[in-house]
């Protein structure tokens, strides 16, 4: 009990940091949770568009705006140069359309007026660009054939309203599964940082010369002492994991009642043990209280950035992912990513997942062996 009580005392002094790491995780998860309705019908993506109409909202101009109102999200911001520029930079809008003052008249006079646009150049902007091109092409063709504006608009709308039949095969709730995967990916940072920080602090406090000497001369068997210390740290790591799992149930609710969740939980539990072994390794290597903070940040931030905890793996460059193979976080996150799109749970599909888990377990063994080797060497040099 003495060991455990002391452990709790040290833990109490670290509570600020643990709260900070957990708050970051929860903040990220809430910030990332967008209300996505899951439908099995096809719903086209809508780019965010801002239209500045310098002329009158009449005839073909009105119809063009209506077409975008139906097929894009018209963003409402202040019609002010700086506000619009900022919105484009921060991707609040993907595409700005400036309809010139005489657009309608020039169009009807066959003058083929120019429309000025500003775009972010990404996927959504390309989609908006395709929409505008499609509209203008159709309008020009119908204008060659039909004389009156009403006829042009009527035919235009008829053509544009032709919908293609799209069948969606997957019945998976991908939106929610992605959110859950992102949450567990991000937990990579919180688990690593939390475990490494706390355990290093504990080992540092117990390993201080005065404390160590006092423990050695006490009547307690050193094996029992070590076992209790290990158990206390393990208990902390598992509690931290259980807390994050609880938070995920609180955040995602009923969408967690699937078979996917079992694998998310097993995977994160294995990773928690891995974080524990990393923490013991670092705790045995570093005996400087001030250095612990720096090392925690470099290890946790480094592996989170490189393995895709913050930035989705599909956005990471190939060479970074290759480097990431040497870190356990990569295999942990890879499992989460695979689970996200898994529909059928059979041996064939689960094979890579078991393989990833196996690799993480191998990492745990490797760290334990390294730790024993190093601490053994250190004991020899100390004595």
């Amino acid at each position: 009990m003495t060991v455990f009580k002391t452990f709790l005392k040290v833990l109490k002094s670290c509570k600020g940091t643990i709260i900070l790491y957990s708050a970051i995780l929860i903040f990220f998860a809430v910030f990332n949770t967008t209300s996505g309705d899951n439908t099995t019908n096809f719903v086209a993506e809508k780019p965010d568009v801002f239209i500045i109409n310098q002329g009158e909202r009449e005839g073909i101009t009105k119809n063009l705006i209506q077409y975008f109102e139906e097929n894009a999200n018209i963003i409402d911001i202040k019609n002010e140069e700086n506000a619009i520029r900022d919105a484009l930079f921060y991707r609040d809008i993907n595409y700005i359309i400036y309809i010139p003052e005489n657009f309608r008249e020039d169009f009807l006079d066959h003058k083929n007026p120019t429309i000025e646009v500003k775009s972010t150049g990404d996927y959504m902007a390309s989609l908006a660009d395709m929409m505008l091109e499609r509209y203008l092409k159709l309008a020009n063709i119908y204008h060659e054939t039909f004389a009156s504006e009403e006829e042009i608009i009527e035919n235009l709308n008829k053509t544009l309203s032709e919908k293609l039949e799209v069948e969606v095969t997957s019945k998976l709730d991908t939106d929610h599964l992605t959110q859950i995967a992102n949450y567990y990916n991000f937990a990579n940072y919180s688990l690593l940082a939390g475990c490494v920080f706390v355990i290093c602090m504990v080992l540092f406090s117990f390993g201080r010369d005065v404390v160590r000497k006092r423990t050695i001369i006490s009547s307690m068997n050193y094996k029992k002492y070590n076992r209790k210390l290990l158990l206390s740290n393990g208990l902390f790591a598992v509690s931290l994991w259980a807390f994050y799992v609880l938070v995920s149930f609180f955040l995602f609710g009923s969408s967690l009642f699937t078979i996917h969740t079992i694998f998310y939980l097993i995977n994160s539990l294995i990773f928690t043990f891995c974080a524990l072994s990393i923490a013991f390794l670092i705790g045995n290597l570093v005996h400087n209280r001030e250095a612990i903070n720096g090392i925690v940040n470099v290890v946790a931030l480094g592996s989170s950035f490189l393995c895709g905890a913050f930035v989705p793996t599909e956005y990471l460059p190939d060479f970074v992912l290759k480097i990431a193979h040497v870190l356990p976080s990569y295999w942990y996150i890879n499992t989460n990513e695979r689970l996200k799109t898994m529909e059928v749970f059979n041996f064939e599909n689960l094979k890579p997942i078991f393989l990833n888990m196996g690799v993480v377990i191998l990492f745990i063994l490797l760290f334990v062996v390294m730790m024993n080797f190093i601490s053994g060497k250190m004991r020899k040099t100390n004595s």
Binding site: Y123, G302, F305, P317
Partner: protein, 403 residues
């Protein structure tokens, strides 16, 4: 004496490994991680080739419109390539789709009945859908235009029928060719006037510079603590010496300012030469903003050192928490945060020194005018002088009978 204390403060600061790690090395490590994580993110957001399959059945063979259009859009290294297309049987297409190897497939289920099958909603799926819809448009145009054409040409038509010439087919071909010609002409005029400076990941690096400026305050704090009798034995010794306190504090602060600037210079060189961060073209203004930004960090450090009566660890904790909160609000953990705060609660970021520095660099990079830049520089100066003023007020006439 001023120079003496300056020299030794400088030496002490440079020998403090922890301080040097947090103010010099940590930003460079973070910058390297940012660079590795973010270098492809914007490239990946651009429209890339989409993998699709088309079911190779009789309806497709008899539909030149679909055949030709997808031939052009799928031509390898062609100018208009948008897709990587595989022509397969339906069973195979389903298999490919279930393995997520294609975005979706197109199947013609009748003469004019195309259907697209996809796994889920998404941007690639939407592009695929809208391309097929554009092809349907052409069929629709043909129907509408030929209807009108026949209406306009009824006298000729009756004449042709009377004279026994049945050339509907050739008429249809003429209309078809006319429309295809119109579609090919690309006579629409869209002028793209977007700025080249739209790389939002730059904000991440700007917040990094801002973070370094403010973290530098820890150096100032540490230097001032060395002069305070209630903080260190060194401070006690210095306090009983016959030197004016102003001189002592000023020389210590100057030493930490120089150390901060040195760290910032290293970070600038690293981000410009290795990471290729774009700070705009106006170098003197970049330097001015860095000098003022560093001053704001120093003033914050001096303020915390002199106003808060606590041990060094608490002071460093307050400094780091304040800076990190500022960094989050100015977009370090996701640039959307900065935009959301700027748009909805602008006063928060107008008072946030990290954002003043970040926003200063942003306006140099993205804006053509300097109003916003100078607003930030003046805000930073006001922030710094206010804090220095408060610190001076707290530090003056501090005397201890015993300690």
């Amino acid at each position: 004496m001023f120079f003496h204390n300056f020299k030794y403060s400088l030496k002490t600061l440079f020998r403090n490994k922890m301080l040097i790690f947090w103010t010099f090395a940590f930003p460079i490590i973070l910058g390297t991680l940012f660079n590795m994580a973010f270098q492809d993110i914007e490239k990946n957001e651009k429209l890339d080739l989409i993998d699709i399959a088309i079911i190779d059945n009789d309806y497709l063979k008899n539909n030149p419109l679909f055949q030709e259009t997808f031939q052009v859009l799928g031509e390898e290294n062609g100018e208009e390539q948008l897709f990587r297309i595989q022509y397969v049987e339906e069973a195979e297409a389903r298999e490919l789709l279930s393995k997520n190897e294609i975005t979706g497939y197109l199947v013609l289920e009748g003469i004019n009945h195309p259907k697209v099958v996809v796994n889920h909603n998404g941007i690639n799926e939407t592009v695929f859908q809208s391309v097929v819809e554009e092809i349907i448009d052409i069929q629709e145009i043909l129907k509408n235009v030929s209807g009108k054409w026949i209406q306009d040409n009824i006298p000729d038509l009756t004449q042709d029928i009377n004279s026994g010439i049945e050339n509907f087919d050739s008429w249809y071909t003429v209309i078809y060719q006319d429309i295809m010609k119109m579609l090919d002409e690309e006579n629409i005029r869209i002028q793209d006037t977007s700025s080249d400076h739209l790389s939002y990941t730059m904000i991440e690096y700007y917040t990094l510079i801002a973070m370094t400026c403010l973290y530098g305050g820890i150096l100032g704090m540490s230097a001032i603590n060395q002069c305070l009798a209630n903080m260190s034995s060194n401070g006690k010794r210095v306090s009983v010496s016959p030197i004016s306190k102003g001189k002592l504090i000023l020389s210590s602060a100057l030493a930490s300012y120089v150390t901060q600037l040195f760290g910032l210079l290293l970070l600038f060189l690293y981000t410009i030469l290795v990471i290729h961060v774009d700070y705009g073209t106006n170098l003197p203004l970049v330097i001015l903003l860095s000098l003022v930004g560093t001053l704001s960090g120093l003033s914050l450090g001096v303020l915390i050192a002199s106003v808060i009566k606590s041990n060094e660890n608490t002071k460093v904790g307050i400094m780091i928490s304040f800076t990190m909160l500022g960094c989050v609000l100015s977009g370090m953990m996701g640039i959307t945060m900065k935009y959301v705060v700027d748009k909805n609660i602008p006063i928060v970021n107008k008072l946030n020194p990290v954002n003043m520095i970040t926003d200063g660099f942003y306006s140099l990079y993205y804006y053509d005018t300097f109003h916003r830049y100078y607003f930030n520089v003046i805000s930073l100066l006001a922030f710094s002088f206010l804090l220095i003023g408060i610190s001076a007020f707290c530090l003056r006439r501090q005397k201890y009978d015993s300690i």
